[in-house]
């Protein structure tokens, strides 16, 4: 039997990789994919501590987020012709 904490460690590693991706990538599509990766790491931890209903809700919300996000990205692409985050510099930070 695999001890539960090994899933916790794996989940933390995957979450960290996702975070890294959000921080270093400039392409919005990839950033959105990294956020999905983070949510999956969370799901993995939650399954390992036996919270299946929570996982169910996270999957649902992930689907909603992706559909809205991709619609937004498509609109941004049509308007700006790019999906590069760093070109959104017209608003100063």
């Amino acid at each position: 039997m695999i001890p539960t904490y090994s899933y916790l460690v794996l989940g933390c590693i995957l979450f960290s990789i996702g975070t890294l991706g959000v921080l270093i990538r400039r392409n919005v599509v990839i950033v959105l994919m990294c956020i999905e990766l983070m949510l999956n790491a969370v799901n993995l931890i939650l399954v390992s501590v036996c919270e299946p209903v929570f996982v169910f809700f996270i999957m649902m919300v992930a689907a909603v987020e992706v559909s809205v996000g991709l619609a937004l990205i498509a609109r941004v692409y049509r308007k700006f012709g790019t999906t590069d985050i760093s070109t959104f510099g017209q608003l100063k930070g």
């Binding site: 794996l10 990789i17 975070t19 599509v29 993995l44 399954v47 209903v53 689907a63 498509a74």
Partner: protein, 158 residues
Amino acid sequence: MSDIFFWVFSVMAVVSALSVVLNRNPIYSVLSLIVCFFSIAGHYVLMGALFLCAVHIVVYAGAIMVLFLFVIMLMNLKDVPEFVSKWWHFGAAGAAVAAMVFGLATHLFQSYNPRVIGDMQLKPIAQALFTTYAVPFELSAILFLSAVIGVVALGKSE
């Protein structure tokens, strides 16, 4: 036996996740993410969560990733400079992630409270969804409705 599978799926998941982050071509990133989702699904099987594994594959690999592929194919993303250019962004990101991993690792092993992996089949989940979790289940309909209206609004207003 399941130990071997655990390691195989874990290495697959980590390597493909790294490949999502580090690949220059978005298409390869999407394909790596699909591999990553499948190895996570493998973990679900190892933990006995068969229903969740099926839902996971249908929702993530089946719906979400196809949507991603579709959008990437729709726009020609070849000309996007792929990484943040400033070196200190890399430094800050690396430091943040390292701090998180170390912070968690020090906390992790002293206080971890493992639970018995119970029954994660279809029937108990369904029962919970329609009894204890009935209200959030209904409210999630509002979330979907607003997503539908939102996507239509984003799509048509040009």
